[in-house]
């Protein structure tokens, strides 16, 4: 399969690989996908006192497109508020990486991972707005 240069670059030099302390109240963790389906993404965000995502980390089991999609997702969420990060759509990821049609599900999974991480963070804070939750 022919992949775009951007995709290969993300696969070879993935951004933000790692793990944040999921017990930390400022951290939200999303774990999506399934081993039996061949891809699992774990995406974590750390929300700063200003309500913006100050750090993001990922680990992914999956094909090159899945790894690149999650790497890009962590890059994009950094510096955004939760509401802004929620606006990231799979189509934007797919377009940026020029994903071939059979790999669109990888970008869907990356969007799901962002949403799951945000949901986890919000649940930890009783679903209060992020600015208050971070205080």
């Amino acid at each position: 399969m022919a992949y775009s240069e951007k995709l290969i670059e993300h696969y070879e030099n993935p951004r933000n690989v790692g793990t944040l302390d999921k017990g930390d109240t400022s951290v939200g963790t999303g774990l999506v996908g399934a081993p039996a389906c061949g891809d699992v993404m774990k995406l974590q965000i750390k929300v700063g006192p200003d309500g913006r995502i100050e750090d993001a980390k990922f680990k992914t089991f999956g094909c090159g497109s899945a790894i690149a999609s999650s790497s890009l997702a962590t890059e994009w969420v950094k510096g955004k508020t939760l509401d802004e990060a929620e606006q990231i759509k799979n189509t934007m990821i797919a377009q940026h990486l020029s994903l071939p049609p059979v790999k669109i599900h990888c970008s869907v999974l990356a969007e799901d991972a962002i949403k799951a991480a945000i949901r986890d963070y919000r649940e930890k804070h009783g679903n209060r707005p992020a600015e208050q939750a971070a205080e």
């Binding site: 690989v17 399934a34 039996a36 061949g38 094909c63």
Partner: protein
Amino acid sequence: MKGVYEMSSLQEMKIAADGQNRPKTPIYLDYQATTPTDPRVVEAMLPYFTTHFGNPHSRNHSFGWEAEQGVEKARAQVASIIGADEKEIIFTSGATESNNLAIKGVAHFYKGKKNHVITVVTEHKCVLDSCRHLELEGFEVTYLPVQQNGLIDLEKLKAAIRPDTCIVSVMAVNNEIGVIQPLAEIGKICRAAKVYFHTDAAQAVGKIPLNVEEMNIDMMSISGHKLYGPKGVGALYVRRKPRVRLEALIHGGGQERGMRSGTLPTPLCVGLGEACAIAQREMGAEAERLKALRDRFYDKIREQLPEVYLNGDLESRIPGNLNLSFAYVEGEGLMMGIKDLAVSSGSACTSASLEPSYVLRALGVEEELAHTSLRIGLGRFTTEQDVDYAVEHIVQSVQRLRSMSPLWEMAQEGIDIKSIQWAEH
């Protein structure tokens, strides 16, 4: 001509231009997908494109006779490697056609009297699809399961044979996991039950000794390009005593004893024959060399990486195949990291269907492990340097991808992945 096609040229080409003793990349490790045509085979074929170009079926001039001689010599060479008579060899376009002809041909001939076919779940798609097609026509098909090692249970075969069974089709060697089915035992069972035994031997001919008499095989499919011959040619062995009756798929001038019409592609037939002759001479030494390389590969991988699982039996296996699951690392993601190596994967991501390998699933390999499998095929032109280079790169890539794998992380923390409620998608 000599010099261009000398045996050593392929090996020499592998030495990198910088003169270092590093193999030339990419390295081909996909010998079960196809093999390069042996330069000696190409050399034998060449005159039949230009000087001996006659139609082998032309009876009235020397051009036809020369071509016919080439074809008949090839027929004898193909027969010889499987212990058959040359009159029992039908040239086809490849193993897919041979399998179609054997299974549909016999079934169609006996339709109405014998409507039952037996095959195995791990067969090649062309066998399974031929059987599906027969089901649509009203035949009944039994798909035998395989054991965890990939081999069929002979008792299950015995139990499946019915008075109306016309053919049993069991592959000699599996294309994904390289396991060798117990052909002689299957042949004995089929002969005793008076049922035709067909075997798809595309991956077996030239790799393991085969004898249609000793193994009671009634039909055997052979492929050119899996044994260092050209693509586009194959053969079907059809027993004459006791005679196997089958209906042709391709009708026309009545060539190949009416079983397969069409002008024979002389150069391709000659190539298949030469490939068989070379394989017959060199099989023993080649198998020994490949087994040593295979063991070196497997041992080095296991020394350096935990949680690597071999799919399929190790003992009853051709020497040139390894099928390994690298737990917690998805197969296509891994292949992207080892782009200097041409291998193939049982992962869903490499197929159009998004389902992991049906062969691995049939062995009972869990889906998550099936997604992590690589098929590594070694062959005639694989060197020790190739193996060492490949191992080094696979190990590096697996280690890197495991460090990025959430499943590996969970496993290290002692979390049972099966205890997690995954959302299937």
